[in-house]
């Protein structure tokens, strides 16, 4: 087959790729500059843009760590995000299994309720939730941030779809015949099979908890208990004169997410897409 060189198509393709690449640069450059500037001195940053790292990273780190307990914030965020993720994964799977493989009165209706809760933003009830946590003595504790994860609607929805498609009722019936209790069947048979779906949602839930800003800002008073995002926002007031330290603090908060994304991007994108295809 002889292919004729078409100049119009060639330019079309050229500009298409140019556009895609420019857009990719726009998406990535702020992070790149953040990492580079984290290693440069404030004077160097003031003088202009650089695409190669500087030598001031140790100095920036010393300045930052002297006033900003960033690793404390890191640890606090992990302390909240890990149990939240585990609770939403386990109870999400439990709820999904209940909806998927049991027929009971109100199953459909209650599942619609679950879907409906996905549309309600946390901000709506934040004043009432604050007052409730005061009454329950959960204010200024991590419990107030962790416990609501038991009811994560998107997780239920995603895992239910997976269980619907991948677990044969005959398998559960066989377990019953063998004398396995319902609860044991869930833990020993259903949970391992549903693991890919549970893992996908867990990555998303972890990131969601990690990024959460408003609720911890409202519910935590002790600086000792602050999460990473709250600490990061403090850099604005603390190092007005030291830009390198500011960039470094933000970089420490952001780089783990960039790494997590490069490892898990396939699952993350899969998890995001599934939520929208429920119609």
């Amino acid at each position: 087959m002889r292919r004729k060189f078409n100049i119009g198509i060639f330019f079309g393709r050229f500009f298409l790729y140019l556009f895609l690449i420019v857009l990719a640069v726009i998406c990535f450059t702020p992070f790149y500059i953040m990492i580079i500037n984290a290693t440069r001195s404030t004077q160097a940053i003031n003088l202009g843009v650089s695409l190669i790292p500087g030598k001031a990273i140790v100095e920036n780190y010393r300045t930052m760590i002297s006033t900003l307990p960033i690793w404390k914030g890191f640890l606090n965020s992990v302390t909240i995000a890990v149990p939240s993720t585990i609770l939403s994964a386990y109870f999400g799977a439990l709820t999904a299994y209940g909806f998927s493989k049991f027929r009971f009165k109100g199953n459909k209706f209650l599942f619609w309720v679950v879907l409906g809760t996905m549309m309600i933003p946390t901000q709506l009830g934040i004043v009432g939730y604050f007052q409730l946590t005061v009454k329950l003595h959960l204010i200024n504790t991590y419990w107030a941030l962790i416990l609501p994860s038991i009811a994560t609607a998107a997780t239920v929805f995603f895992i239910k779809m997976y269980i619907d498609a991948n677990i044969d009722p005959a398998l559960i019936e066989a377990a019953r015949v063998d004398g396995s209790s319902e609860f044991r069947t869930f833990n020993r048979i259903v949970l391992p099979i549903a693991f890919p779906a549970v893992a996908t949602m867990s990555i998303l839930n972890f990131i969601y908890s990690w990024n959460n800003y408003l609720t911890p800002l409202v519910l935590l008073f002790d600086q000792n208990k602050y999460t990473l995002p709250i600490f990061i926002t403090l850099v604005k007031g603390q190092f007005k004169q030291n830009l390198g330290a500011q960039y470094l603090a933000v970089a420490i908060a952001v780089v783990p997410i960039l790494i997590a994304f490069t490892i898990f991007s396939k699952y993350i994108i899969g998890g995001i897409t599934a939520g929208s295809l429920k119609e």
């Binding site: 998406c27 209650l110 901000q123 009830g125």
Partner: protein
């Protein structure tokens, strides 16, 4: 299937029970309680929250910061959303249909900003957008777009800071929406395009006649979720506007959003939680009304188009 289901149906309730207890106590109850509080004067001055009827709701109409925050919130959302939708649909079409080398990589990079903590993004851009020392100004000077003396004071100008917030939101969300549209476009049966090609349709007309009607359900989903997120906008404008004027909100309160105002009322100063509860419900009603409008117009429009296609 039915045989075993009947036997063990009660276990179903047991399995979904923890979810619903948590939902009722920690999610639904706080919302209803907030609704109740919106009729009280709960605040530092009135710690027991005496009943005040609808006066909190009446006050909303005379609160100039609240009215300003409505305008700000909508402006920031719309200026971000229109280009977001255009880029998302356009890119989704390019990446699903044209044979692009490095398709997965582009998809990943466009989506990346979405995952990063919004509060950190706010701080990052707060430094990048600095005036004399800001990196974005330095880049603009280096590219000779602006002269050295003409550096833009992004964070001090109401117009620039508000546009910046919109652009940051566009940057964070166009890749996310694009991924949803890509999933919808991949699901369109290839036969439709083949049939259209046989009938002599070009890429442009088959995009409008086939792709757009087919992705309408996702369009409704993206519109409504973006509207909900946009009207509840808090993290980025809060972080960027903090420390400016009294109670934050940027120069002349140009990026004070509704949820920021709610936060300021409920958790700073006189702790006017009754009034803040009324703000929350006013916001909720706004979200509900506009979601219904979107649902009615865009979703119903879709049904008409389908009829047209079938009619032909």
């Amino acid at each position: 299937m039915r045989r075993f289901s009947i036997r063990t149906s009660n276990y179903g309730y047991l399995f979904i029970l923890p979810f619903f207890i948590t939902f009722l106590v920690l999610q639904l109850y706080p919302i209803l309680y907030t609704f109740f509080l919106s009729f009280t004067g709960l605040s530092t001055a009135d710690p027991h929250g005496s009943f005040v009827g609808i006066s909190n709701y009446v006050k909303l109409f005379t609160d100039k910061f609240f009215l300003q925050s409505i305008i700000n919130t909508w402006r920031i959302w719309i200026i971000n959303f229109i280009p977001q939708l255009i880029f998302a649909i356009g890119l989704a079409a390019i990446l699903t249909r044209d044979k692009i080398v490095g398709r997965g990589l582009f998809r990943g990079v466009y989506f990346l900003p979405n995952l990063v903590t919004a509060a950190s993004v706010g701080i990052l851009f707060n430094v990048l957008l600095g005036w004399k020392e800001g990196t974005i100004n330095n880049i603009l000077v280096a590219l000779k777009i602006i002269p050295e003396a003409g550096k833009i004071h992004f964070l001090a100008s109401p117009l620039w800071i508000s546009s910046s917030v919109s652009i940051i939101l566009w940057w964070m969300w166009f890749g996310h929406s694009m991924i949803l549209f890509m999933a919808a476009m991949v699901a369109v049966p290839k036969d439709y395009y083949d049939a259209a090609a046989v009938d002599g349709a070009n890429a442009w007309s088959s995009f409008w006649k086939i792709t757009v009607p087919q992705i309408r359900p996702i369009m409704v989903y993206v519109l409504i979720t973006s509207l909900i997120g946009g009207l509840n906008n808090f993290d980025i404008p809060f972080v960027m506007g903090e420390g400016q004027d009294l109670g934050g909100g940027g120069p002349v309160k140009s990026i004070l959003t509704m949820v920021m105002h709610l936060y300021n009322m409920a958790f700073t100063g006189g702790r006017q939680r009754g009034y803040a509860a009324a703000i929350a419900f006013a916001l909720f009603i706004m979200v509900l009304v506009f979601s219904l409008i979107i649902f009615r117009t865009v979703a119903r429009g879709g049904r008409d188009t389908e009829k047209e296609i079938k009619g032909v």
